[in-house]
């Protein structure tokens, strides 16, 4: 934990070039200035242009998503009819059901993975186990091994477990929500732990020592000092976990059972006929929903940061 708070050097007022090379220096500086404006413009364009197209095509009056054939609101009407229990098209009902499954699996696995991942990060940061270095590196394994490998190994693992339970107790287990959630937790622990660990590394350990000095016990120190300081890391880690879980296709499919169709599986399953703009409409609604949530959490964070919080 030697690398606490970055050593601060003042870069703000340092001239970028030597005084002798005035002309090239000026040029570099100008290019830099223009670049500073253009780079984010380009990044935002690449980030948002496809999403903007997705939203535009959710109003497409066509069976497919690729060719524009006029404006319609019917895809949104379908979804609202589907969720309000009215007479929904079969495909809409299926899609809304798949979204519900995705959210259930995503939320449960995120909560579990966040708790376990944070505990792993804390214990790796604070303990002095003999094999700590190795454990630390093993943590990165699920991040780097191909998804299909993990999916197959999980499927084999569950098969063995079910066989064992079957032979020892006679209870016949089948894959389903449980196996999918365990699978998602398995890969998400690493992501959460890595993000939280980065946050812990940047934390000033003297703050905890100070709390101890002032008479707080370990638990109080954790709740009052450590947790608030690493909270942004935990939130970021859990959001990453939620996104990965909602995106996942391969691990979900290999460990799926009856009635566990998730949204990614549904969308891929449309390939046989055609992906309809209804998928765009649902994605747009999810986009609005998540933007509101992120906006709200940013607002809360801004309000909180007015308190003396980031002394680290």
């Amino acid at each position: 934990m030697g690398n606490q708070a970055m050593s601060r050097t003042t870069i703000g007022d340092t001239p970028l070039s030597q005084p002798q090379g005035m002309q090239p220096g000026m040029m570099v500086r100008n290019v830099g200035k223009v670049g500073l404006i253009i780079a984010p413009l380009f990044s935002y364009f690449f980030l948002w242009a496809p999403i903007l197209l997705l939203v535009i095509f959710s109003f497409n009056d066509s069976r497919g998503v690729d060719t524009w054939r006029g404006f319609t609101l019917r895809w949104y009407q379908n979804i609202f009819a589907g969720t309000m229990g009215g007479e929904a098209r079969f495909a809409t009902g299926l899609m809304v059901n798949a979204l519900t499954n995705t959210l259930i699996i995503g939320l449960i696995s995120t909560v579990i993975a966040t708790v376990i991942g944070t505990m792993v990060a804390l214990s790796l940061a604070r303990s002095n186990l003999p094999g700590k270095k190795i454990l630390d590196n093993i943590l990165y394994l699920p991040v780097v091994i191909p998804e299909i490998t993990q999916a197959v190994s999980l499927a084999i693992f569950f098969n063995l477990v079910f066989d064992y339970i079957d032979s020892s107790t006679g209870v016949h287990g089948t894959p389903g929500f449980g196996t999918i959630i365990i699978g998602h937790v398995a890969f998400n622990i690493s992501y959460v732990a890595i993000v939280v660990r980065a946050r812990l590394a940047g934390m000033n350990p003297r703050l905890e020592e100070a709390a101890n000095d002032l008479g707080a016990n370990t638990w109080q120190t954790f709740i009052r000092i450590t947790l608030p300081l690493i909270l942004p890391g935990i939130v970021a880690g859990s959001l990453l976990a939620l996104t990965l879980s909602m995106d996942d296709l391969v691990i979900t499919f290999f460990n799926s059972g009856i009635g566990t169709t998730t949204l990614p599986v549904f969308v891929y399953g449309l390939i046989k006929t055609s992906v309809t703009p209804e998928v765009n409409a649902l994605s747009s609604l999810m986009l609005v929903f998540s933007t509101v949530i992120v906006g709200f959490s940013l607002y809360l964070q801004n309000r909180n940061s007015e308190r003396p919080h980031n002394i680290g």
Partner: protein, 361 residues
Amino acid sequence: MRVLVLIALLLSMFGITAAQETVLDTDWTCPEGFEGQQLNVFNWATYIGDSTVADFEALCGVTVQYNVYDSDDMVLTLMRQGNPGHDVAFPTDYVVDILRSEGLLAEIDLANIPNIANIGEQYLNQPFDPENKHSVPYVWGTTGIGYDIDSVGYEITEWSQVFECECRVAWLDSPRAMFSIALTILGFDPNTENPDEIGAARDYLIENSSNVVAIAADDGDSLLAQGEVDVVVEYGGDVGQQIVDCDCENLQYVVPVDGGIIDYTSIILLADGPNPALAQVWMDYILEPEIQASITNTILYPTPNVVAIEEGLIEEEFQNSPAVSLSDEVAANTFFIKKVSSEAEQYYTDAWDEVKILTGL
């Protein structure tokens, strides 16, 4: 009165409806004794009629759990791993053959499926399931040529025209399909396992690739609709949907006279499914003319149900299009892509990689 309505609503929420109303008019009646049971259907997301599932639930008083897969390979993989509880699935012909040879299918008692009589003779007892012991026909389809007649300027009827035309062409990213086309042109068996013939087909594809602008995974039909290409090797259903969608005269689909690729989708009875009896009731229900017609009218894949065709239940424009009502000459030359030995499968995959690398596509 209000209380009654409320109770009725509550009951209907639990699926205990008194009046069993169906969306489609049908004479089909469900055999007794299945009320309250469940059927687990495994299918593509929208590869079924809009009310097919709901009507079956109403007629039999059962629950259908509809699960989605995204490729035939996924069905294969899952079933090899151990059936998690699916009763029926809807794979392509050669996949039926693989599943059958690996013992992953259960046996059907055709006495339970009187509606098999509605299926045309020519669609039954196919090599992939010689006595229909494990599968019944669902829909069929073709792989052929989609093209924009305005930009090509003439009618296309043969495979060789795809390679000769001075226009922008997209191939289908399916080694077996593309090689079977080249093999047909060269006069070989489209399902050959001979490495020399496969090599000759590879050379033919490479030599005649100058007009190819894309090898399309499953979006060749949209490239055609957007005007990015003029000619595309594609599945008939995909091009058909674009033609319906654009409601235009210039887009055409043709099954080549020298050998269109034909494929069947079957309903299969999976081994170790929880409810094989209800699964066979489901098969009989699907083969009812009104039901199978409504499926075809929704997903735009031709039906093997000749009674439905005779009764005029299929939308006329679709049924009479040359891609569906194949002329005798065209029908006589169609062929299946068959399961080949794994060595031959490897030849095809490798040769296709070489084609892709040497053409830079």
